[in-house]
């Protein structure tokens, strides 16, 4: 099972919202040596007490298959969906990006933000905080463009994912 290419996958895990459940899921990744590129978690249904964990991970197809199987063994896990493999999902991430500078660089940053549909949510004479939403790759590109223009700080939420069409996960 060696020699397979490493792939990036987005996996959503619907769990019972009980104490320790996040530690259980994350512990599985660290304990078995799987990657976590990003992780988001929040309660999504207070009545059913379910939380949704979205993990972006990478591995060979065999490793990804194991990750799904291992997640399914975790007692408080209700459902596991591998968007990348099973169905086309929509993936979005939000980031807050701080850029400091004056003069032409400052103008250039604003022009770029406009092109990326990023909003300035905090403005001073010497800085902006931009809010940007999109696929992770779009956010990556925006950050790269900001780097020479006075990038100071980045905060990213990690990926949230959902399926297209009328059905639930």
């Amino acid at each position: 099972m060696n020699g397979e290419a490493v792939e990036r996958h987005t996996i959503t895990v619907l769990v019972n919202n009980e104490a320790g459940v996040l530690a259980r899921v994350i512990g599985l990744f660290s304990g078995r040596g799987y990657n976590i590129e990003s992780l988001t978690v929040a309660e999504v249904d207070p009545a059913a007490r379910t939380s949704r964990i979205t993990i972006v991970t990478s591995g060979t197809p065999a490793v990804i298959e194991q990750i799904e199987a291992q997640l399914n063994r975790v007692v408080p896990v209700r459902r596991v969906t591998n968007w990348t493999a099973e169905q086309a999902g929509i993936e979005r991430e939000m980031a807050l990006i701080k850029v400091a500078g004056t003069g032409e660089k400052r103008m250039e940053a604003l022009r770029m933000a406009d092109a990326f549909r990023a909003r300035a949510v905090d403005t001073t004479h010497t800085s902006f905080v931009f809010e940007i939403t999109g696929a992770p790759s779009k956010i990556d590109s925006f950050i790269e463009l900001m780097r020479p223009l006075g990038l100071v700080d980045v905060s990213r939420t990690g990926v949230a994912a959902i399926s297209r069409g009328p059905e639930a996960m």
Binding site: N16, A19, G20, R24, Q66, A69, R73, V75, P76, R78
Partner: protein, 596 residues
């Protein structure tokens, strides 16, 4: 003090909710779950539960001498009965001492319910006396665990704990109960068949997969059954179904260390154990087969040898109750997620219904007989020294007609026992397979003997391992458990010495068992019987004496200190590269040296 039976417990499972303290709920839940024996050790954070225990009858508490011993005893109890083992220990050091046993149970899929006391809720997180993050520490070594925060959740949690420990792939679970919750009163609910919100193990095989498996089996020219502990966990019926399947197909069969007993060792289809110290015929059959039928085993590294060279020309069927095992180590051509017993029964049904016939297996069996002819378990006996293999053979011959249960420690003696002791039934062999825990066998024997009072329970031990949990002899005395600790005393951590010879130029770095106690005197100090055999001539007599004594025995069997365990697949080698003796070479590759 007299027992005062005033504890207001509810009659078992009447369905009516009653009000109890948390501590009483624990006892009531144990009763409602049919628990008759628990293994434990008291301490500040479990005193209310011990107090509740004091007031009831019908539950026997076995006081061990170390919490690790409690868990191994519960494992022995569970593995020899098919029932869950129950452990009760205090917070902090009580819980951490239990961790080795809990991990052992996880690796070998043994159903355990471990109940730990915790500091009172308001002190959690303050570094209180004997506080530790028990659920944090045991999260990776339990199937699931809970910290109980509300007394009204306690009974449901306990029932859920039993359900999860015993169903699907069995394993240890842990319920951590703060001391204030043990004192509080709340509503006790009897075990009801509530559907767990997310836990729904799949046990019924997919009929399409069974049909395909039967087709593959009927087409195979060189098939072999590779069986494991999953069949034992499924219950004795699964072993019966397996016998029928072997009767129908005539296929050869091997098993893992954990699977010994699933198939009678006296039958001609039995190839012996496979893997690192498996037989020549079992490993070569695995290597050369065209169909590998894995039933309830998990392609452990002790079994596969070098994975890239594992069974290179076979199609593989893999049956496991745990979906994550399929395709984990080797790819399966057909995966079946189901309870082993159910799936094997279905295979038998479908084979019969379709009036299937095996391919002619004459050539395959002829090949197997050639391999068998190598007599890979043969050894050179001695008139003066007791060879460890001879000791196991004599122990087997002199006990085989008795109601015998074998436990082991970890090392060469364990492998010799696995290779040579012949098991005809499941649940008779208790050993630490996945974790390889020295110190397992003695307390496990305590648990086995408690469950089977009239049986002959023998721990085949090493002199190094047995010192790890030796204090449980005192438990055996206290509860009149006539366990026999049969020590193959080679004055070495023999398995370590063997690897040092193979990999480290014979430099015996700290593997000599120096300053050994006098085991006979030690036996007497504990109040049990000590026996010693130093020559082959006296061995039988001493073994018979051991069997005849109705008290716990420590048997110091002085064996050849330099004997090594063969056959062996050197680490990093393939099944067909196994060595039969030290003269066989057995060069270990650089990659192999890295392996354990």
């Amino acid at each position: 003090m007299d027992k005062d039976n005033t504890l207001a417990l509810a009659p078992a499972a009447t369905g009516a909710p009653v009000t109890l303290t948390g501590a009483e709920m624990v006892i009531q839940a144990l009763r409602d779950q049919g628990v008759t024996h628990i293994f434990g050790y008291p301490g500040g954070a479990v005193l209310p539960i011990y107090d509740a225990l004091f007031k009831v009858e019908g539950i026997t508490h076995v006081l061990v001498r170390h919490e690790q011993g409690a868990v191994h005893a519960a494992e022995g109890y569970a593995r020899s009965t098919g029932k869950p083992g129950v452990v009760l220990v205090t917070s902090g050091p009580g819980a951490t001492n239990a961790v080795t046993g809990i991990t052992d149970a996880l690796m070998d899929s043994i159903p355990l319910v471990v109940i730990t006391g915790q500091v009172p809720s308001h002190l959690i997180g303050t570094d209180a006396f004997q506080e530790c993050d028990t659920v944090g520490i045991t999260r990776p070594c339990t199937k699931n665990n809970w910290l109980v925060r509300d007394v009204n959740e306690l009974s449901r949690t306990l029932h859920e704990a039993f359900q999860i420990a015993t169903t699907g792939r069995p394993g240890p679970v842990l319920v951590d109960i703060p001391k204030d919750i043990q004192f509080q009163k709340g509503v006790y609910l009897p075990p009801a068949n509530v559907q767990h919100r997310s836990y729904k193990p799949k046990t019924d095989p997919d009929p399409g997969a069974i049909a395909r498996a039967v087709e593959m089996m009927a087409a195979a020219k060189r098939p072999v059954f590779y069986t494991g502990g999953g069949i034992i966990n499924s219950g004795p019926e699964a072993s019966k179904a397996l016998r029928e399947l072997v009767d129908l197909t005539g296929f050869p069969i091997t098993s893992t260390l954990m699977g010994l007993g699933v198939f009678p060792a006296s039958r001609p289809e039995w190839l012996g154990m496979l893997g690192m110290h498996g037989t020549w015929e079992a490993n070569h059959a695995m290597h050369d087969c065209d169909l590998l039928i894995c039933l309830g085993a998990r392609f452990d590294d002790r079994v596969t040898g070098r994975v890239a060279a594992f069974s290179p020309n076979s199609k593989r069927i893999h049956l496991d109750i745990d979906a994550s095992q399929i395709n984990k180590v080797v790819r399966a051509d057909l995966g079946i997620v189901a309870d082993a017993g159910k799936a094997i029964r279905e295979m038998v049904q479908v084979w019969k219904a379709k009036k299937k016939q095996s391919q002619p297996l004459k050539d395959w069996w002829a090949q197997i007989e050639t391999w068998r002819g190598r007599k890979s378990l043969a050894f050179k006996n001695s008139d003066t020294l007791i060879k460890p293999q001879y000791a196991v053979d004599r122990l087997y011959e002199l006990t085989k007609d008795k109601d015998v249960y074998i436990t082991t420690e970890v090392g060469q003696h364990q492998m010799w026992a696995a290779q040579r002791f012949k098991f005809e039934q499941p649940n008779r062999w208790m050993t630490s397979g996945g974790l390889g825990t020295m110190g397992y066998g003695l307390p496990a024997a305590v648990g086995v003997q408690l469950a089977h009072p009239g049986a002959l329970v023998i721990d085949i031990a090493g002199e190094a391992s047995v010192q790890m949990t030796m204090q449980e002899m005192s438990t055996a005395i206290q509860y009149n458990l006539p366990i026999k600790i049969f020590i193959l005393n080679n004055e070495y951590m023999g398995m370590v010495r063997q690897w040092q010879e193979l990999l480290h130029g014979g430099r015996y770095s700290h593997s000599y068992s120096e300053a050994l106690p006098d085991f006979v005197k030690m036996a007497e100090a504990f109040g049990c019987v000590g026996l010693r055999a130093t020559s082959p001539a006296e061995l039988d007599g001493k073994i018979l004496e051991m069997i005849a004594v109705k008290r716990p025995v420590l048997f110091d069997c002085r064996v050849d200190p330099m004997e090594n365990c063969y056959p062996m697949i050197p680490s990093g080698a393939a099944h067909n590269e196994m060595i039969l003796s030290p003269d066989d070479g057995g060069e270990v590759s650089e990659a192999g040296k890295m392996l354990v």
